[in-house]
């Protein structure tokens, strides 16, 4: 057992810290620090800055721009980024579709899509969930019927984050409705969102924003070349994708930053209100336990296999994120009633309620916490 980072890892961390705090444009980091929504341009600019330094997609194969980092180094990379208020690379590009294309796409598909995916030349949306296929994703119904050298796609996707920015969407579509198992008839198809028949409709959420959308496909003609891998093997690729979605799944870096800022916002109340101080101390101890667990998982997964323990991180990490936004909302109290600057409340109180409400989604997305409990019960405990 070893408490300290190796000199190499410590130097690695210092280098990244220097880069994130000096090379990523100030206006982007200030926006994150103010807990305001980033524009598409800011997110793209941030990803390009990382890509120019060669650190946008360390999880990819080296020949496509990845880094041969250890899981611990990837952990450090992610946490330092969050600590410096640098937005992580667009997850749909970097963590989701990129690794799938790199692993399963044809050479032609790789060459066509990977460079633009890496530098955000394409903004990808994710077309997985449907109105009747949430946790039970394999129940999806959007169909793709082969017609010559095209697929004709009909159906509806939902909860599509940032689809209003999307250039392309990677989808799971049903290509064989008669397959014996519902998982078997699914394919992984890339669709240009400017194709006729694609419609995006925003969904208003209780946090006041519209980051998620419904996407409709009506007789959308997609070149068959846009298929990733083999027809009807899409479920396998989707599982690979979800298994890869691990770096920073506990959200430790962002939560840590917020909890530290909240101390500043609490000011004298930290000394005057022992219950508040106890809330902070307890959350800090929870955060420590989760951070240490994420380091443990990273250190133990050096063989590259996904750890079932990542379900623990998703569960505990999302609950902590929620608890910390709840603490901030409580700190804001009446001052947090409106995010309208006209209310004249301190700037930090404005995002308190929206982010508290927004983070209710953390225990739902990425595999709901109930799904994670099911995974722990089945995979780890053998129940």
């Amino acid at each position: 057992m070893k408490l300290r980072l190796s000199p190499e890892d410590a130097a690695f961390r210092a280098e990244l810290r220097e880069f994130f705090t000096t090379q990523v444009p100030r206006h982007i980091r200030d926006t994150v620090a103010a807990r305001e929504d980033l524009t598409k341009e800011q997110m793209v600019e941030s990803m390009r800055t990382l890509d120019a330094a060669g650190i946008a997609v360390p999880n990819w194969p080296v020949e496509w721009g990845g880094k041969d980092w250890t899981p611990l180094q990837r952990h450090i990379w992610h946490e330092e980024m969050r600590a410096a208020c640098v937005p992580p690379p667009i997850t749909f590009n970097a963590s989701m579709v990129g690794p799938v294309i790199a692993a399963f796409g044809s050479q032609q598909v790789k060459e066509r899509f990977l460079p633009a995916t890496r530098n955000a030349g394409i903004w990808w949306s994710q077309g997985f969930s449907e109105p009747d296929a949430g946790s039970d994703l394999a129940a999806l119904r959007t169909s793709a019927v082969r017609d010559g050298d095209h697929y004709v796609v009909n159906g509806q996707k939902t909860w599509t984050s940032y689809a209003q920015y999307g250039d392309w969407i990677f989808t799971l579509v049903r290509t064989d409705p008669d397959a014996p198992r519902k998982q078997a008839g699914i394919s992984f198809l890339l669709i240009d969102m400017t194709t006729p028949g694609v419609t995006v409709r925003p969904i208003r959420l209780i946090d006041g924003g519209s980051l998620v959308n419904e996407v409709f496909f009506q007789d959308v003609r997609v070149p068959a070349d846009n298929l990733v891998g083999q027809e009807n093997h899409g479920w396998h690729y989707a599982k690979f994708l979800l298994g890869n979605e691990r770096a920073g799944i506990a959200g430790v870096g962002g939560t840590k930053w917020l909890l530290a800022e909240a101390k500043t916002w609490a000011g004298d109340r930290l000394r005057e209100d022992p219950l508040l101080a106890a809330d902070f101390a307890r959350l800090e101890n929870d955060l420590l336990a989760i951070e240490l667990t994420s380091i443990r998982v990273a250190a133990e997964s050096s063989d590259g296999k996904a750890q079932p323990a990542s379900s623990v991180l998703k569960l505990a990490g999302s609950e902590l994120q929620q608890a910390v936004t709840e603490l901030v909302l409580n700190l804001a109290g009446e001052q947090g009633l409106s995010s309208d600057p006209a209310a004249g409340a301190p700037a930090w109180t404005r995002p308190a309620a929206p982010s508290y409400l927004h983070l209710r989604a953390a225990s739902i997305y990425g595999g709901s916490n109930e799904v994670q409990r099911q995974i722990i019960a089945g995979t780890i405990l053998g129940l």
Binding site: M1, L3, K256, L259, L270, N285, L292, Q374
Partner: protein
């Protein structure tokens, strides 16, 4: 940073596990050992001494093994897994730690022939009586106080705490709810030897020794939690109701999953605290011990309570083992500061730092 044990550490764990399983493979072993005084198996205590476990943290020149908090934690965890009632943490880690630090002879402890007990509560005063020191006052509970050959006493001397040893003192023994033994110890002009300078404030020394004992207790709790969860998992698989195993009821399986989350969060924090102690900075070690003790208390209470609930009525019987795990976890929670105590300490300091950073 890595959480892997070395081959040597794993060998130590296997050896201790092998020895303990000779007596404590089932709960009957503990039941037998705690049925009569002194509340543990003297034969096992000797065998632990022969294996070197009782001298583990002492310097080699003092007859010890010169091992650190990580090895101590491994042993404590194994004792927790089988609920071994031998007073390893109190006698070796806490008393032995204080004695070794003061340069006192600890060879008797390492050999298993001297059993010390820690008299740490407030209520004892030390005064000079001619050319000797004497103690007055009364403390309870003193774990294994009646059986102890030597008492390591924290007493107020001139306004600050100081350490003394004595083999005297009136002891009234009683049983604790987890099957152990404790005593009410009374001093009345009882002669005692100062351990170190009795006029100096020993607060720091005492607090650091308590920190090491806290982390060892947290490891013991970790072992107990792990076993309690294993038993609960087995029960959910084996027990059938309404024509199917309990594990088929999602609510029950989910509660077991939450126990697993509790266990893993505790494991991370407790292992880390051992590493912080091993790293040497005393102030950091003391704080890390509070963090580990708080986490172990919270997870231990959760897991102990749920283990009983998921077993149903059988979990409450003395005959079945899982209830004993809940009893022991409850006891450990209250030794050397409960969760409220440690949370209050951490809360009082929370404004003094921006973040807690485990990666250095």
């Amino acid at each position: 940073m890595d959480f892997d044990h070395t081959d040597e550490q794993r060998a130590l764990r296997d050896a201790v596990r092998g020895l303990l399983s000779k007596t404590y493979a089932t709960i009957d072993g503990r039941r037998e050992a705690t049925a009569g005084d002194p509340g543990f198996d003297e034969g096992m205590w000797s065998r632990l001494a022969e294996m070197g476990v009782l001298g583990l943290p002492f310097p080699e020149e003092a007859g010890g093994m010169g091992a650190g908090p990580v090895e101590v934690g491994l042993v404590a965890e194994e004792m927790g897994r089988v609920l071994a009632p031998e007073p390893f943490v109190e006698a070796v880690v806490l008393c032995g730690g204080l004695l070794a630090r003061a340069g006192a002879d600890v060879s008797g402890i390492a050999e298993g022939v001297v059993l010390p007990a820690y008299v740490g509560g407030p209520g004892v005063a030390a005064r000079c009586d001619g050319d000797r020191w004497v103690l007055d006052g009364s403390v309870s509970p003193v774990l294994n106080g009646a059986r102890a050959d030597l008492l390591v006493v924290v007493a107020e001397a001139g306004g600050t705490p100081a350490l003394f040893t004595t083999a005297q003192g009136e002891r009234t023994s009683f049983s604790t709810y987890d099957g152990g033994r404790a005593a009410r110890v009374t001093f009345d002009g009882t002669a005692a030897e100062p351990l170190g300078d009795p006029t100096a404030d020993a607060t720091g020394t005492i607090e650091y020794a308590r920190a090491r004992a806290r982390v060892a207790y947290a490891h013991e709790a970790l072992g107990a939690m792990e076993r309690a969860l294993e038993m609960t998992r087995d029960h959910l698989r084996d027990r059938h109701q309404f024509g199917k195993p309990l594990s088929a009821f999602q609510n029950l399986a989910f509660r077991a999953s939450d126990m697993y989350v509790s266990l893993e969060l505790a494991r991370s924090t407790v292992l880390w605290a051992s590493m912080v102690l091993a790293d040497g900075d005393e102030a950091e070690g003391i704080e890390a011990a509070s963090r580990a003790k708080l986490r172990a208390a919270e997870s231990g209470r959760h897991i102990g309570q749920e283990a009983i609930q998921l077993h149903g009525g059988i979990g409450l019987t003395m005959e079945y083992q899982v209830g004993h795990y809940a009893m022991r976890l409850t006891t450990i929670e209250h030794l050397l500061g409960d969760r409220r105590h440690h949370l209050a300490r951490l809360a009082a300091a929370v404004g003094g730092h921006r973040t807690v950073d485990p990666l250095r």
